[in-house]
Point group: C2
Chain length 147, copies 2
DNA sequence: CTCATATCAGCTTAACTGAAATTG
DNA sequence: CCAATTTCAGTTGAGCTGATATGA
């Protein structure tokens, strides 16, 4: 047995703590699901972001993901070395390097998506289809408003 | 300037990635806000959890926060040493140690809450009051369903 | 005996600060 | 000169696996 389910007081955790809490539950499950594939949760988010954006610089990705530029550099390095991300110099700004998802990255993402859709289903099992749409839309608005 | 806001494709990130994304934005802001206080985001969540539960064992906390028991031990240690958490042996199960928030912990939490309510306001600025309630309720249901 | 609890030890990875080179 | 981009280097912290001891 795993012990009795904890009772909750009247006042639930405030929004910032609640987000952290849900994230920890999500990460535990995603980590387990993608263990066969050699990518971390953050690396996976980065690949998804690049897929969405199509093309972006390292600095731009750092801002969107709320990381320091240095952290983004170290995050990108192994992905580029593995050929998941393609790097091309920006013709207009010679200091910039444009990043996009390589075919290998796209293939890996498609492969992983088979596992993660299952995880998503189990994560949202407590919600109705309408509520899932609602939650997704609200989170998306919060996320995009914070860039 | 911080560059143009990225355009988003039609298909937004799936729920697991979206949660991670929001969490990173939240953490960046909470970290900055609580920097004067010597606690991390996860330690803070732990204190909030203990406040909610009133009393819990280390193993129970590890399950609710989706961490390994070992990780919970190392997370608790500095907090107990600083007197933020009180440890009392369980009279019925001699192997267990019951944990509760000490007065020092309660005071620290009250102190921090002044900063975090500001952060919460800025995080949810894009949502109406009704939408905030809705988002909070949905996240709470997801979190509790995953213990 | 088996399962749960608690903890020690070692390790890996993530993300930080600091510093520097380059370009607009 | 100043601001933005990229990257190297060193450092801390968070969370993992493995192993161990003890109690229900």
């Amino acid at each position: 047995m795993s012990g009795p389910a904890p009772r909750w007081a009247e006042r639930p955790p405030a929004f910032p703590h609640l987000v952290k809490w849900v994230e920890m539950a999500v990460r535990a499950r995603v980590d387990r699901a993608i263990r066969p594939h050699p990518v971390s949760t953050v690396q996976l988010l980065l690949l998804v972001m690049l897929e969405e954006l199509g093309e972006a610089t390292s600095a731009q990705l750092a801002r969107t993901m709320q990381l320091t530029p240095q952290a983004m550099t170290t995050l990108l390095k192994p992905l580029a070395e593995r050929g998941l991300i393609a790097r091309t110099p920006d013709p207009t700004h010679r200091r910039r390097v444009l990043l996009r998802l390589a075919n290998e990255g796209r293939a890996l993402l498609a492969d992983i998506r088979r596992s993660t859709t299952e995880v998503e289903e189990s994560l949202l099992a407590a919600l109705s289809p309408a509520e899932r749409v609602q939650l997704h839309a609200l989170l998306m608005r919060v996320a995009t408003s914070l860039i």
